[in-house]
């Protein structure tokens, strides 16, 4: 199976690091971005299968980043992570085209399964 290419976006380095090393063990290619702007740049530069996006970030907000990603790459699945079970933000995120959401703290495996779901869902229509 082809390696899954992930982009993990969160403003905290340790957070990125903790997940990155575990995803690498699960045979995924993972890159990280610390802000919405960086994420958009990386998406332009390389082809990702799934984006995992934190909603709460300084600078460009997660929801804004999501909208921009969706504007450029509507087919790219984005899973949103949030520390808030805030219905308003979640509904907005889902309405803006997020594939699904998970509440922090989330386990790598749980997140990985969701990523696999997203990849499968993406492939289905094109296959």
């Amino acid at each position: 199976m082809k390696k899954i290419r992930l982009l993990l976006v969160d403003d905290e380095t340790d957070f990125l690091h903790a997940y990155t090393r575990r995803f690498i063990r699960r045979n995924a290619e993972i890159e990280s971005a610390q802000s919405g702007e960086e994420a958009l740049e990386k998406i332009e530069g390389g082809r990702f299968d799934v984006v995992i996006l934190d909603v709460m970030m300084p600078g460009m907000s997660g929801l804004e980043t999501l909208r921009r990603i969706k504007a450029l790459h509507p087919e790219l699945p984005v899973i949103i992570l949030t520390g808030h079970a805030n219905s308003k933000a979640l509904i907005e995120g889902m309405e803006s085209g997020a594939f699904d959401y998970l509440l922090k703290p989330v386990g790598t495996d749980e997140l990985y399964f969701k990523v696999l779901d997203a990849v499968r869902a993406r492939r289905l229509p094109s296959d």
Partner: protein, 561 residues
């Protein structure tokens, strides 16, 4: 505001209203009364003056007539002709016919002796030579005497006119019955205690006084300074206020005294006064009653409004408290979630390494694995807390479904059956069988009931009773959950819905249960109340609307982004 301050407000409003209406009323009354009294008094005085003046004029006219009559008789006859007894009789008859008050006529010579006399008395031999009036008449030509008894022994007075005829001087003298004055004066006497009489300059009565005595007695008049016109004199006699109009006569130094009883004359005024007083009293009473009633209703309304506002303030304070604590809880939870993620993922990474066999197999690796599990387990525990805190601050949109509260309550009680049996607690359900369905979120209501039942079980501990009752309310349904626990102390009752308030030992309760219940019910359009009595137990009463129409955006107000 306390009850005392309402009483004070009521009092000051009453005083203000009464003051503002009664002061002008009484001022008006006082002015009217004093003006009326003054003008009435003036009227009485001027009336009295007029009466005295007119009567004095009449008396003057009378005296003038008599004098003129005598002067005519003296002027038209000679001494010789009048010395003739028969001629004098004839003249006297004519005069007496014209003026019956003239009761005799005498012609007196220069020597004081009667030349002729016509009248009912035998006075022919009387010599007036030494009488003072004789000298006066001889000197001045006219003399009017005071009333006296004289030789005739009844009250009378004389008028004497002098006639000079050639070398001879003689006097024509007439006796006038002073009864004529008594009659003239008496018809002035007014009322039950009015009086009128004539006095001479020494205050000797010339006519009888109604109360003051007979003729020639001393009149009881106070001293006053005569002005030449009618004088008004006031004094008090035996407690009665008297007022006298005193008019001087022109021909003599007599004075006409007309006395009135002040009180008697003022009695119409007193009647009017008492009428006015009564009227004003009625007005004052009506004003007082009106002020009492209107102020009472105003204060009552104010009290009601204040009470409503206080209740609203309390609700606003409670909801603000909830909102700010919600924000705080959400912020804290969010800040903790990232570190928790990192801790768990770091532990997970260690587990990954162990699972991949990179560390081989040893007791140390087993210990490491166990430690990793511990970390993961406790992170999970912490996560539960943060999620509950987040859940307190905000939860998902409530669902709208038809809910049978009775069924929901029965089901929730059944969840706790083991616990209840184990603790020997009796649960008594009194459900209203006709309870209407409500449109709300069943899961959240179930959480609320579960939370309240758990609290009730905790409050009882062992051996007790929980009563669950449902009943319809006003556009709502009501549920009571009462426990037979030891109750909540009065100082804590108001705090039970505050977040983080707990009486349980540290670590056993988050203090969020009831505040979540509170905010959940608020969000569903309902409410919760608590009543507790030490030693008897606690009752939570929840109210849920039959239908709750949620306003979009409104519930999110207190939520954090």
């Amino acid at each position: 505001m306390t009850d005392t301050s309402y009483t004070r407000l009521r009092l000051s409003l009453m005083l203000l209203t009464l003051g503002l209406s009664l002061v002008p009323l009484f001022a008006l009354g006082f002015v009217i009364d004093s003006e009326f009294r003054e003008s009435y008094g003036d009227k009485l005085t001027s009336n009295l003056k007029l009466v005295a003046h007119n009567k004095a004029d009449a008396l003057d006219v009378f005296l003038t007539e008599r004098v003129v009559q005598l002067e005519m008789v003296a002027g038209m006859n000679t001494l010789d002709s009048l010395s003739n007894q028969q001629a004098l009789e004839l003249v006297f008859d004519t005069v007496h016919e014209a003026s019956p008050s003239i009761i005799d006529l005498g012609v007196i010579g220069q020597n004081g002796r009667h030349v002729a006399y016509s009248g009912p008395f035998d006075l022919r031999d009387v010599n007036y030579k030494d009488e003072p009036w004789f000298h006066q008449a001889m000197l001045k030509g006219l003399y009017i005497s005071d009333v006296f008894m004289g030789f005739r022994n009844f009250p009378h007075f004389i008028i004497a006119v002098k006639r000079r005829e050639g070398g001879r001087t003689w006097i024509l003298r007439a006796t006038i019955d002073s009864d004529i004055f008594t009659g003239l004066v008496r018809n002035v006497q007014s009322g039950a205690s009015g009086d009128a009489y004539l006095v001479n300059r020494e205050g000797v009565l010339q006519t009888p006084s109604r109360f003051g005595g007979k003729v020639l007695g001393q009149a009881s008049l106070p001293a006053y300074r005569p002005s030449g016109d009618v004088d008004v004199v006031r004094w008090t006699e035996d407690g009665t206020e008297l007022v006298a109009g005193i008019a001087p006569l022109a021909h003599t130094d007599w004075r006409l005294v007309v006395i009135e009883n002040q009180q008697e004359e003022l009695s119409p005024l007193l009647r009017a006064q008492s009428l006015i007083f009564g009227l004003f009293l009625i007005c004052a009473l009506m004003i007082a009653a009106g002020a009492y009633l209107s102020v009472g209703s105003v204060v009552k309304r104010l009290q009601k409004a204040d009470k409503a506002r206080a209740a609203m303030d309390a609700a606003v304070v409670q909801s603000n408290k909830m909102a700010s604590l919600g924000k705080l809880a959400a912020g804290v939870a969010h800040e903790i979630n990232n570190p928790l993620s990192i801790i768990r993922e770091s532990a997970g990474w260690i587990r990954d390494i162990i699972n991949d066999g990179e560390l081989g197999e040893s007791t140390a690796v087993d210990d490491l694995q166990e430690a990793t599990s511990d970390i993961e387990r406790h992170v999970e525990r912490a996560r539960t807390v943060t999620h509950r805190m987040l859940g307190f601050a905000r939860r998902m949109e409530p669902l709208q479904e038809d809910v049978d509260l009775n069924m929901l309550a029965r089901q929730t009680v059944s969840f706790l059956e083991n616990e209840i049996r184990h603790r020997n607690i009796e649960v008594e359900c009194r459900f209203d069988q006709d309870l209407p369905l409500i449109t709300t979120d069943a899961n959240q209501i179930q959480q609320v009931i579960l939370n309240l039942l758990e609290n009730a079980i905790d409050a009882i501990g062992h051996d007790g009773c929980i009563e669950v009752e449902t009943r319809p309310g006003d556009g709502a349904v009501v549920m009571d959950i009462a426990d037979s626990g030891e109750g909540i102390s009065p100082e804590n009752v108001s705090k039970v819905f505050d977040p983080f308030f707990t009486t349980k030992p540290t670590g056993e309760g988050t203090g969020l249960g009831l505040s979540i219940v509170y905010s959940t019910l608020k969000k569903l359009g309902g409410g919760i109340d608590v009543r507790s009595e030490r030693g008897v137990g606690t009752t939570f009463t929840i109210t849920l609307p039959l239908v709750h129409v949620s306003i979009p955006g409104r519930q999110e107000e207190s939520w954090t982004e």
